[in-house]
Structure formats: structure tokens, C-alpha cells
């Protein structure tokens, strides 16, 4: 074991020796320092490994050989080992990254760099408060030097701001230290802290001064303009160090001096953290310069960790672990992001699309962003989860709200940025430089992030059930991304099929999950079949599809809230990357992601409050919520409703589904939406039909469902874009489903299941076929299509059957849903909602006719005369689904009876009885099979009758019509399709005026304007920044000590 003191010896020794090297051997100096940092990393890492293994205990090092408090002592325990390892390794990688710049600028900056790293090591290890002050000053001064690396003129401005503000902070610290010394006669931190519990308490003012100076060093919002300037003025490589090392150190120091100040400050620490977390992220939303944006984000994350430290009494002995999960994610992600920023080398986040030239970096960029927001499988996910659960258990709901709100606001700009990188056009001119030595550190940080996600998982006891196989499979698919589409498609389908068989035993005997498993994975396989029609490589597609399906399947196997939410987030991430692939998907994928994240956080909030009931975090615990049950249920329900796109939360769907790639649309529409349905079902089952806390919720949800349906169908009728029409139709169908399940009656649920299954079947068909046609015809606009029945008869038949199902026309299975609906509504007594639903159902005919007429009927357009049928790879899955529809229509009993039995236990009485093939309720009866026979027979007879009458009907050519006494010869004048419901729109179109879109638009504008307004306090003036800091100190003083 090499003593930790040698870290300092090596660092200073090398720093001093560099002066001997002179100017001649610049790169030799760089290598020398690199070796030194490697040695330092090695020393701290060996301590870390040994301490983790438990082979040794942490030690205290007494300088000068005297015990504390008489001399300065350093401590090397687990915490110190972790942090010094992080800092030294980051130093090492940073130096590697900054190699060229450093070598150019000469030995002085190398010396500064070395001393900077050394100073952080000492501040972490030292147990003497004055020594802490000294090395904090060293860190400050070294940093003010490192800012200059880039040679920008603005760096000098940032530097002086930084020096002045930290000068004030350290001055106050010094006053606090001497006051403390005058009271307890020691400078040892442990000594002061233990004295605090005894007789010689340090004065409150001393504690205050010590604490506030460390807080100021953490750049609390809003007194942090100087800190952000430092981020934006310095080289991104230095930014990585500030964010990854300096901020981490600062947080640990705050933790270290907290006992000195006393426990009564914990609440204020939490408050400061909360304000910083929200305020800094909010300000970040209006930012477009990458380094500055990262600065805001860093400060926000520091605020979050500060909160965690302040919440010690609640988090207990998990505090440090939880803080670590956030810190490590932030450390790796932020370092990586800063480094990428240095490579992209642009002043606008819009130029990051250049990253697409480096797929690996782009993937890592995505991983970093997701890690910052707190997606699985990164450590921050576990951390946030456990924090929220613990807060919930202690009834700290306001802090839950703060953490979720802050995380959401952070997602606003991070996701925007990610989208820009994935979708925007590559910049015309760029100064990017993807040198290998710059890329390697980023790769390593990516590895660290994933590795830590895996390594830290066992430390969260919730996380035992997580299945990593699908995630690894996604990774594998990414590794073979260079292969052509057909091979990857086959592998993916095989993977899904295997996974299906793997999971089937797990859901054996649980019909609910079986149904959804068939929909999720079976549907997945079918929609993937259509992928064979695609050409090229589709980079990244299959990994993301697997991610989504893995998440979906994970929802089904989840036993606890944790694995449920884990899968939920995996699914969200995967689907986001699928959706954003569409040509014009950028804004829609963005709003999809924001709504999804917002919804996920509501679910998380609900779970956290549910944890307050102390029934554990298994999903079944939701049925025993005793604390604020109505809130829990409402939050979770609204969370799921963001996925089912219910009214008010639906504005993302039309664009996201409409603009997605042709085979992604059926995935996200027919399959993904069902995840929300499954979630709602789980919730409803947990709540139970007779739960007194949820009756109002169901009533409200019922109305929402009904209005969603009406608005969805009406909007669909006014669409000109074929895929958007289908998207609005999805909104409406999900409205039906929400309504049906909200009734919470046996027959209502049967209706809900019928609708769910039907929607899965017909929406997959429609999106597959219409999507393929849209691609083939090269337009989304239905009025530019027409007459395709003659070119694509198979597509026409499939669409026709789907439409009959949607319309609920007997004899197909859609009618089963309508019939069950009527009975359910009458039984439940929701007459007006029901009337609305049926009104909406009839409006559906408007868009159904428009769809099939505009695309398939009417006159063929000139440029489509040579069209052929769409690819068989699209038709095959469609016709498999049609077989499903036909079976369901002819034998509804065989599907509905098991479902009926399955949901029986949740309700008091079974209201649907079967007599042979005839279904009966107390209200009415319906015999699907007989109707099939009667209609089939009669239809054949009538067809025969007509054939007898006009067998020799002569086929005529196109345009064989007379129109206004002219024979037309242009299809455009004859194919009436654009805005055909003009009269209808004139009459009641006002109902679908986009008030909700306007509402959300204005909400987002408001947030951005607000952020823009807040950030005006960062006026750039040194004087103002100093005023902010002093103001902050005075206000904090008045609140905490002044009795305000």
C-alpha cells in the first residue's frame, strides 16, 4: 500500500520539477505529468479497491507525526478513496484530452493543472479546517489559471469574477474558522464537530459563516452568475474538470463541514439545493450555447445533491450512497458532454448534428443525456428512485415535487439538445475536431457510466429483479449495426420470438398478461416483418426497437413498482429514438418525450406517495394505499394517460405517430399505446371497484375518455394527412378504452378489452398499409392520392375490413365492442357520456370514408398510373392480423369468456351470460356467430341476384363520366377529397379548435420567456455578481439567524 500522502508528494514534486525542464521539452513535460497523474490515480484506486474488498480499514495520516488536533491529519476512508479516485482519474483523462493544447501552451499550465488536481485531493482528505481553507484557495487560484487555457479574452473576465467572489467567500470562511477556534480551541473538524455536541459549542455565527462560504463555492442559484461565466469562458476540457471534479469536491466539502455548522442548518441546505436545482435548470431552458448550458445543468445537479445532503435526517445512512449515484452519473455524463462539446467546437447546440458523423459518440451523447435526466440503467435512476421512495415514506411530498419538477425542467433542454443532434441538418461550416485522443476519454466515461449502472445496481435492494438480457441484446444489435437490414431484421425477430417463449411460462395462468404479451411481442414480430421491405442499413433502428420491446415486456413481468418503472423508462427511451427517426419528426418526438417524461414523473410521484403507506413497493401495495389515496391514484392515472394520449395530454400523438417511419407508426400506435392501457389496468385492478377514494377519479376519467373520443374523431375527420388521420383515430380509440375501463363494471371492462384487442388489430393493419402507401406514393396528403383500388386491391380489402371494425358495423368484431358499450353504459348509468361516445362513434364514419375514399377510390392521379401493389412484406402481417379479426368476429365467445372469467374476481357480479353463441345481459342480447351466418347468407344471395341481372356489366375506362356536361380528363378536377366536410367544419368545427395545443404552446412559451427573464440577472457585471452573492449571504443570514 502506497500511502495517500504520496499523492501530494508526487503531484507537488512533479509540479516543482517541471520548472527544471525548461522550454525545450514541452511534450516531455506533458508525458511526465501524465505519468504523475497515473501514479496518483493508481494510489487512490488501490486504496479504493482494498477498502471495498474490506481487506483494510480506512486510515488517518498524521503529518509531522503528531496526533490531531495538534497537527494536520488527513483521512483515507472509503469516501475519500472513491472521491480521490474519481478526481485523479478525471484529471488523467482530462490531461489526455487536453494533450495538444497543454503541450502548446507550455509547462506553466501543466504545473497549474497538477497543483489543481492535488489541491482537490487534499481538500477531500484533510480533517483540519484551516488546512481545508488553504487548499481551497489553491484550488481557486489554480482554476482561475486553468480558465486561461483557451486564450479567449472573455476568459480574463470570467477569471476576475471568479477570484473576487471566491475571495469574499473564503474571507468569510476565515472569520468563521477563527471564531470557531476562539470557542473550542481546535481546528480539527472532528474536534469542532464533537465539541458542538458538548459544552464548548461554536457560536451560531461561526457555523453560519463556515457554511455559507462553502455554499457560495457551490454556486447556488441565483448568486451564481460568476460560476456560469467560468463554465462558458473556459475550455470544455476544463469545464469537464470543474463540473466533474471541482463540483464533486465542493459537495463533499459541504458534507464534511455540515457537522461543524450544526444540524439546524440542514433544512436550509435542502432549501438552497431545491432553489438551485429548479432555478438553474429553468434558466438553462433558454440557453443555446453548449458550454453555458452544461454549466447550468451542472449547477442544477449540484443543487440536487445539495438537497440530498440536506435531507440526511430522512435518507439516513443511505444519504452518501444516494448522493453518490447522482454524483457519479453527473461526473461521467458531464465530463463526457464537455469533452464532446470541445470536439464539436461550436457556439450553438444546433451544430451538434455534426456528431452524426461519429455514431459511437452520438450514442454516448444520448447515454449521457439520459443519465443526467435519470433514465435506467444509469445510477442516477436508482438514486432518484430511492430518494423519492424514502421521501414518500417520510411524507415529504413537497420535496418530491421539487425533485420531479427540477428533473423535468432539466429534461426540457437536454432532450431538445439530443433531438437537435439526431435530426437537424449538419452545419455547413464547422470547426469540429474528432482527434482520437479526444475521443478515447469520452469512450472511457461512457464505459464508466454503463459500468457503474451495472455495478451499483445491487446496492439498491429494489433492483434485484432487473433483467439485463434484453439490454445486452440491444447492445449486440448496435455492435452489428453495419450489417444490412434483412439480417438484422431476422435476428431481431428471432430475438423477440425467443424472448416471447422465454416469458410465456412466466405469465402462464395470468390471462391479462398473456393478452398483452401477445400484443406486445407478437405484434412486435408482425410489425417487424414489414421491415423486410426496407432497404439500406437503418442504423440504430433495431437496438432501439429491442429497447422498446424489452421495456414493454418488462412491464408485464414486473412484480414491484421499481421494475415496472424501470421498464417504463426503458420503453420510453426506446420509443423516443424510434419516433424521432421520421423525416419531420423532430418537434413531435420532442413533445412526445416531454409528455412521456412528465407522465413518468407523475407516476413516480404517485409511487412515492404510495410508499408512505408503508406497504412496501410491490405493485400489489397500490391496493392498500392509506395515505392520500386519491392523490396517489390520480397522479398515477394521469401519468399513464400521457401514454394513452387522453384529452389535454394528446398533442404529441398526431405528429409523433403521423411523421414516424412507415413501420414505426404501427409499433407506436397499435402496440406502444397499449402500455398506457396496461398501466391503467394494473392501477384499476389494484384500486378495486369499490374503493371509496377513487370514485370521483373514475367519474372524471370517464368524461375525459368520452370527450377525448369525440375530439379525436372530429379532428381526424378534418385531416388531410393520411397518417395524422390515423393518429387522431388512435387518440379517439384510446378514449373509448379509457372510458370503458373507467366504468369499473364487469361488462364495461369486457368492452374495454374488446376495444383494446380490436384497436391493436386494425390500427396495426391500417398504419402498416397506409404507411407503406404513403411511402410509395411519396405524399402524406390524401387529396394527392386516389384510385388505388385498382392498383392495390389487397391493400384495399385489408383497409376495408379494418374500417368496418372501427365503425362497429356488424357482423365484424367492432360491433361486439359497441354492443357491450351500450349495455355497460346503461348499466352504469353514464348516459350523457355514453351519448357523447356514440355521437363520436358516428363521426368516425366521416374520417373512415374519407380515408378509404380519398386513397383508394375516385380517380387515379396521373403520376400514380404505374403504381404496383405495396410490398408483400407489409401485406403478410396485415393479413395475419385480418385472420385475427375474422376469428374474433366469428367466435367472440371464445375470446370473451376467458376474459370474463379473468376479470370476474374484481367485480361483484358477472353480468354477461352465454347461451350457446348468444351473449345476454340483463338489457339485451347479441349472437355474433348467427349474425355472421345470416349476413353472410343474405349477402351471397343478393350478390347472386345482381350477378344474374347484370353479369355482362362492361368495364369502363377512367373518366367515363359526365360532369357538368363535360367529360373530364384531369383527375384533380374530379377527385373531390380536399376538405370534403367543409360544411360540417363550418357548423361545429369550432369544437376542435386547437385550444389545447395553444394552451401547451403558451405554457412552453411562458416557461421560456420566464427563463429568459430570470437569466437577465446574469448581466455579466462583476459588481452585480458581487451584489448577488452579498445579497444571498445577507438574506440567508436573516432567515437562518436573524429571526426572519
Amino acid at each position: 500500500m502506497v500511502g495517500p500522502i504520496y499523492i501530494i508528494v508526487i503531484a507537488l514534486g512533479i509540479a516543482f520539477t517541471l520548472g527544471l525542464l525548461g522550454k525545450a521539452s514541452k511534450s516531455a513535460g506533458w508525458v511526465f505529468v501524465l505519468a504523475g497523474l497515473a501514479a496518483m490515480t493508481f494510489i487512490s484506486a488501490q486504496w479504493l479497491v482494498a477498502l471495498l474488498e474490506g481487506s483494510i480499514q480506512g486510515i488517518q495520516i498524521f503529518t509531522a507525526g503528531y496526533k490531531p488536533p495538534y497537527s494536520i491529519s488527513l483521512q483515507m476512508g472509503l469516501e475519500e478513496a472513491i472521491l480521490t479516485t474519481l478526481i485523479n482519474s478525471l484529471g488523467l483523462l482530462s490531461l489526455l484530452y487536453l494533450g495538444k493544447e497543454m503541450v502548446q501552451k507550455g509547462v506553466e499550465i501543466l504545473m497549474v493543472f497538477m497543483v489543481f488536481i492535488m489541491s482537490m485531493n487534499v481538500t477531500i482528505m484533510t480533517r483540519d479546517i484551516f488546512n481545508l481553507f488553504v487548499f481551497l484557495e489553491i484550488e481557486t487560484i489554480a482554476l482561475s489559471g486553468l480558465i486561461l487555457l483557451i486564450g479567449r479574452k472573455t476568459a480574463f473576465q470570467a477569471g476576475i469574477k471568479y477570484l473576487i467572489i471566491s475571495g469574499i467567500a473564503s474571507g468569510l470562511l476565515l472569520i468563521g474558522i477563527i471564531l470557531a477556534y476562539s470557542h473550542v480551541g481546535t481546528l480539527d473538524i472532528n474536534g469542532i464537530a464533537s465539541a458542538n455536541n458538548g459544552l464548548f459549542r461554536i457560536a451560531p455565527i461561526a457555523g453560519f459563516l463556515i457554511l455559507i462560504s462553502f455554499i457560495i463555492e457551490l454556486k447556488p442559484f441565483p448568486a451564481n452568475g460568476w460560476g456560469i461565466d467560468v463554465y462558458s469562458a473556459s475550455h470544455p476540457g476544463i469545464g469537464a474538470l470543474i463540473s466533474g471534479a471541482s463540483a464533486t469536491t465542493g459537495l463533499y466539502l459541504l458534507y464534511k463541514v455540515l457537522p461543524v455548522a450544526g444540524e439546524e442548518y440542514l433544512y436550509f441546505i435542502t432549501l438552497i439545493g431545491a432553489i438551485t436545482f429548479i432555478g438553474s435548470n429553468l434558466t438553462g431552458t433558454a440557453q443555446s450555447q453548449p458550454n453555458r448550458l452544461l454549466g447550468y445543468s451542472s449547477i442544477g445537479q449540484v443543487g440536487l445533491v445539495t438537497m440530498i445532503l440536506g435531507l440526511q435526517p430522512i435518507l439516513g445512512d443511505r444519504t452518501l450512497y444516494l448522493a453518490f449515484t447522482i454524483i457519479i452519473s453527473h461526473y461521467a455524463a458531464k465530463a463526457g458532454l464537455f469533452w464532446i462539446s470541445g470536439m464539436v467546437n461550436s457556439s450553438s447546440i444546433k451544430d451538434w448534428s455534426i456528431l452524426r458523423k461519429k455514431p459511437l459518440l452520438l450514442v454516448l451523447f444520448g447515454a449521457f443525456i439520459l443519465a443526467l435526466i435519470g433514465f435506467p440503467p444509469f445510477p442516477s435512476f436508482n438514486g432518484k428512485w430511492e430518494i423519492l421512495m424514502k421521501l414518500g415514506e417520510s411524507n415529504q411530498y413537497h420535496w418530491i415535487a421539487v425533485i420531479l419538477a427540477g428533473s423535468f425542467i432539466e429534461a426540457i433542454y437536454l432532450i431538445k439538445w439530443l433531438g437537435y443532434a439526431i435530426k437537424l441538418d449538419e452545419p455547413v461550416e464547422n470547426q469540429s475536431n474528432f482527434h482520437l485522443t479526444k475521443q478515447i476519454p469520452v469512450w472511457i466515461m461512457g464505459l464508466v457510466l454503463f459500468g457503474m449502472g451495472y455495478y451499483l445496481n445491487p446496492f439498491t435492494h429494489y433492483a434485484e429483479a432487473i433483467n439485463y438480457i434484453p439490454l445486452l441484446f440491444a447492445l449486440l444489435l448496435f455492435a452489428i449495426d453495419f450489417l444490412p437490414v434483412s439480417i438484422k431484421n431476422t435476428i431481431t425477430i428471432a430475438g423477440l420470438a425467443y424472448y416471447f417463449m422465454l416469458l410465456w411460462p412466466a405469465v402462464e395462468g395470468d390471462l391479462l398478461r398473456q393478452i398483452f404479451l401477445v400484443m406486445f411481442l407478437g405484434g412486435g414480430i408482425l410489425t417487424l416483418l414489414a421491415g423486410y421491405s426496407k432497404k439500406g442499413k437503418r442504423p440504430g433502428f433495431y437496438s432501439m426497437a429491442i429497447l422498446m420491446y424489452a421495456g414493454l415486456a418488462g412491464l408485464l413481468t414486473a412484480k414491484g413498482m421499481y421494475d415496472f418503472f424501470f421498464s417504463w423508462e426503458v420503453m420510453t427511451a426506446g420509443s423516443y429514438f424510434l419516433i424521432i427517426r421520421g423525416k419531420r419528426s423532430l418537434p413531435h418526438a420532442y413533445s412526445y418525450m416531454l409528455f412521456s417524461i412528465g407522465g413518468a414523473y407523475l407516476i413516480l410521484g404517485g409511487f412515492a406517495i404510495a410508499a408512505a403507506s408503508l406497504n412496501g413497493t410491490s405493485l400489489s401495495a397500490l391496493s392498500m394505499v392509506t395515505v392520500l389515496p386519491t392523490w396517489v391514484y390520480a397522479l398515477i392515472a394521469v401519468g399513464f394517460m400521457t401514454k394513452t394520449a387522453s384529452l389535454g395530454l394528446h398533442i404529441w400523438l398526431p405528429g409523433a405517430h403521423g411523421e414516424a417511419e412507415s413501420d414505426v407508426s404501427p409499433m407506436v400506435s397499435a402496440i406502444l399505446l397499449k402500455a398506457g392501457v396496461f398501466g391503467l389496468l394494473l392501477l384499476f385492478i389494484s384500486i378495486g371497484a369499490t374503493n371509496p377514494h377513487s370514485q370521483e377519479i373514475w367519474y372524471v376519467l370517464g368524461w375525459i375518455g368520452a370527450i377525448t373520443t369525440l375530439m379525436g374523431n372530429m379532428s381526424a375527420a378534418f385531416q388531410e394527412d393520411a397518417k395524422r388521420l390515423l393518429a387522431y383515430s388512435s387518440i379517439a380509440q384510446l378514449g373509448y378504452i379509457l372510458f370503458a375501463f373507467s366504468m369499473m363494471t364487469h361488462i364495461g371492462w369486457l368492452a374495454g378489452f374488446t376495444y383494446t384487442i380490436n384497436h391493436f388489430l386494425f390500427k396495426a393493419i391500417l398504419f402498416l398499409i397506409i404507411g407503406a402507401i404513403v411511402v410509395k406514393l411519396g405524399t402524406h396528403n390524401m387529396y394527392e392520392m386516389g384510385g388505388m383500388i385498382k392498383k392495390m386491391p389487397f391493400s384495399f380489402i385489408a383497409v376495408l375490413i379494418s374500417i368496418i371494425v372501427i365503425g362497429g358495423i356488424p357482423p365484424l368484431s367492432g360491433f361486439a365492442g359497441k354492443w357491450l358499450f351500450y349495455n355497460a353504459i346503461l348499466e352504469k348509468g353514464w348516459y350523457f357520456q355514453g351519448a357523447l361516445i356514440f355521437f363520436a362513434g358516428i363521426i368516425a364514419f366521416l374520417y373512415l370514408f374519407k380515408l378509404i375514399f380519398s386513397v383508394f377510390l375516385g380517380q387515379v392521379k396521373d403520376n400514380h398510373r404505374n403504381m404496383k401493389e405495396i410490398s408483400a412484406w407489409v401485406l403478410i402481417p396485415s393479413y395475419i392480423l385480418i385472420i385475427g379479426i375474422m376469428l374474433f368476429s366469428a367466435f367472440p365467445k371464445d375470446v370473451l369468456t376467458p376474459i370474463s372469467e379473468m376479470i370476474m374476481p374484481y367485480f361483484t357480479s358477472e353480468t354477461l351470460v352465454w347461451d350457446g353463441t348468444k351473449a345476454m345481459t340483463s338489457m339485451g342480447y347479441w349472437d355474433g356467430s348467427t349474425i355472421m351466418i345470416v349476413v353472410g347468407t343474405a349477402f351471397m344471395l343478393l350478390l347472386g341476384w345482381l350477378i344474374v341481372l347484370s353479369a355482362k356489366a362492361q368495364k369502363v375506362e377512367q373518366f367515363n363520366i359526365v360532369y357538368a356536361a363535360e367529360r373530364p380528363f384531369r383527375p384533380e378536377t374530379t377527385h373531390v377529397s380536399h376538405n370534403i366536410y367543409a360544411g360540417y367544419k363550418k357548423a361545429i368545427g369550432f369544437l376542435v379548435s386547437p385550444v389545447i395545443t395553444v394552451f401547451w404552446d403558451q405554457a412552453s412559451t411562458f416557461v421560456l420567456d420566464f427563463a429568459g427573464w430570470i437569466r437577465r440577472i446574469y448581466s455579466g457585471s462583476i459588481q452585480n455578481y458581487a451584489i448577488h452573492v452579498i445579497f444571498y449571504i445577507v438574506v440567508f443570514y436573516l432567515i437562518s439567524l436573524g429571526g426572519l
Binding site: E137, S144, G145, Q157, L174, I178, S1021, I1022
Partner: protein
């Protein structure tokens, strides 16, 4: 008499902070900062003061149980360190100011607002 020292120190500190947030001239800000530092040092040194005690330099090694009548050496050691740190920071600040002056030809803080928002 001791009170005067403390009050001097405190007044210097207040004056220093006032100067930092009030001045518009960078050099004045740095000067205010040194005032602030000086006030700090005065405060520090006075904390070790014990009435009628001598300087902490011994002429012989004190015997067992014998306490020499000296002031506390610790604050003196601390203030020595603090002075040196203050010196370093001040020097660096002045170098920065010089650099800024070379850049814009003025010392008015309002000319250095290139970084904002």
C-alpha cells in the same frame, strides 16, 4: 483597548465589502479586497491575544507542567499563512486587471460584460 482593534478589523471588512460592491473601477475593487483581507488578518491576530503575555518565542524549553506566559502562537501562524495567500490572490487579481486593461483600455467594470445570460 482591545475592542478598538476588533472594531478596526470589522470596519475594514465592512469597508472592503462595500468597496467591492460599490466601486466601478477594477483597481479600486482589488484595493477594497485588500482592505477586506487586512481586516481579516487584524481580526485573526487579535484572537490569540492574551493580556500581559509575551511573544511566543521561548528562551528555554519549559519544564514539566510549566506554562510559559505567552500569547497563543496558533493565530499568528494562521495569519502568516493567510497573509501569504492574500498576497498571492491580490497579485493574481492585479495581473488579471492588467490583462483586462490591455484588452479594452479601460478599468470600468461595465465594459466587461461579454459573458452574460
Amino acid at each position: 483597548m482591545e475592542q478598538v482593534i476588533i472594531i478596526t478589523g470589522i470596519l475594514l471588512i465592512i469597508l472592503g465589502i462595500f468597496g467591492i460592491i460599490r466601486s466601478r473601477n477594477l483597481v479600486k475593487i482589488v484595493l477594497a479586497f485588500t482592505l477586506f483581507n487586512t481586516g481579516l488578518n487584524i481580526l485573526m491576530i487579535s484572537i490569540g491575544y492574551i493580556r500581559n503575555a509575551g511573544a511566543p518565542i521561548l528562551s528555554q524549553i519549559p519544564g514539566q507542567g510549566e506554562i510559559p506566559n505567552i500569547v497563543d502562537p496558533v493565530p499568528q501562524a494562521l495569519v502568516l499563512t493567510a497573509i501569504v495567500i492574500g498576497l498571492g490572490v491580490t497579485a493574481l487579481m492585479l495581473a488579471y486587471v492588467l490583462k483586462l486593461y490591455q484588452d479594452k483600455g479601460t478599468l470600468d467594470i461595465n465594459s466587461f460584460k461579454d459573458l452574460k445570460w
